[in-house]
């Protein structure tokens, strides 16, 4: 019971922090020239924060649709890799469930599910976090787009909230040599690749680090 409550409350804390970024996104999108509708449809349908921020920053800087799509696509690609991993956790064969699950397969839901001790807890963590983040990201976008006043998440240190949470979610995996090797390898690949590859690709390349763990 306690573990269940813990997963739910942790998922909701993450979701609330995402809500503040949603406000920043909504306000930023409108000031980059998007309508309130465009900002909201983007958050509902794209639902990939890093991609969306990248797209509006290109537009705000005077870039075109193609340039905005290029960067945003690289940042969206990692969700496909997460989905491969999450499809192992979800029940087999239910296509409709999977198509809904696909939309909420993001950094937060994947990390929360991976930190779980068994499949049942992993599913709960995935759905609570994924749906919670979905609700708060979209509410935040609406508020930010309508109110138009940007909040700066950096003032509250909220930009550090996510890597901090991810560190805590990785911690229980570090006891297992295969996971430890994959995590250290992934971190090193990202560190080395960041100065030379476009934003988004280093995280994708980090997937190669699973080869270090597969043999263990």
């Amino acid at each position: 019971m306690n573990e269940q409550r813990s997963v739910v409350s942790a998922g909701l804390v993450l979701a609330a922090a995402v809500g503040v970024f949603g406000i920043a996104f909504g306000a930023g999108a409108v000031s980059a020239g998007a309508s309130v509708w465009q900002a909201c449809v983007m958050s509902l349908a794209v639902f990939t924060g890093a991609s969306q921020f990248s797209a509006i920053s290109v537009i705000a800087a005077g870039g075109g649709t193609v340039a905005a799509l290029g960067g945003a696509t690289l940042l969206a690609a990692r969700n496909g890799v997460y989905a491969l991993a999450m499809s192992r956790v979800l029940p087999r064969g239910r296509l409709a469930t999977r198509l809904i699950a696909a939309q909420v397969t993001i950094d937060e839901s994947t990390a929360m599910a991976s930190a779980a001790r068994d499949n049942t807890e992993a599913r709960r963590a995935f759905w609570v976090t994924g749906l919670g983040v979905y609700v708060f990201w979209n509410l935040g976008t609406l508020v930010g787009a309508v109110a138009g006043s940007a909040v700066d998440p950096a003032v509250f240190g909220l930009d550090a909230a996510f890597p901090s949470g991810f560190v805590a979610m990785l911690a229980p995996l570090m006891d297992q040599p295969a996971h430890r090797a994959a995590a250290i390898g992934g971190a090193v690949i990202c560190l080395v690749a960041t100065p030379v590859l476009p934003v988004g690709l280093p995280i994708l390349c980090a997937a190669a680090a699973v080869m270090l763990g597969v043999r263990r």
């Binding site: 813990s6 942790a10 993450l14 980059a32 983007m42 349908a45 794209v46 649709t65 905005a68 799509l69 945003a72 696509t73 969700n79 496909g80 890799v81 989905a83 491969l84 991993a85 999450m86 499809s87 192992r88 087999r92 296509l95 999977r98 198509l99 397969t105 994947t110 930190a115 240190g157 550090a160 996510f162 890597p163 901090s164 949470g165 991810f166 560190v167 805590a168 979610m169 990785l170 911690a171 995996l173 295969a178 996971h179 994959a182 995590a183 250290i184 390898g185 992934g186 971190a187 690949i189 990202c190 960041t194 100065p195 476009p198 934003v199 995280i203 997937a207 699973v210 763990g213 597969v214």
Partner: protein, 101 residues
């Protein structure tokens, strides 16, 4: 901002997610691929921590985030509760920023 951007990005973003999710649906992956898929989150989330902590706009940068996430790492290693780790990381980062480092 064009509707073309909104719609194409939505289709592309969902296509990535749905492909990964449906590709492996209803079938058992070969053992090596299954093990590799199980390790994907560890590799990518660790990379994401590096990305969110010590990079900014495609360059390596050390700032207040490194101090905050460093504190979070110590707390996580001591097995503090997830919420404690998150709040600590954010609070330390905000405090370091407030004193102008």
């Amino acid at each position: 901002m064009t509707w073309t951007l909104v719609i194409v990005l939505a289709v592309v973003a969902y296509a990535f997610k749905a492909t990964g999710m449906v590709l492996a649906a209803g079938r058992r992956l070969p053992p090596v691929l299954d093990r590799a898929a199980a390790l994907v989150p560890a590799a990518l989330i660790a990379a994401l921590v590096v990305n969110d902590t010590v990079t900014s706009a495609g360059a390596l940068t050390i700032d207040a985030r490194a101090v905050g996430v460093g504190a979070a790492m110590v707390a996580a290693w001591r097995r503090a509760h997830l919420i404690v780790v998150i709040v600590l990381g954010a609070a330390v980062t905000a405090a370091v920023r407030a004193i102008g480092m």
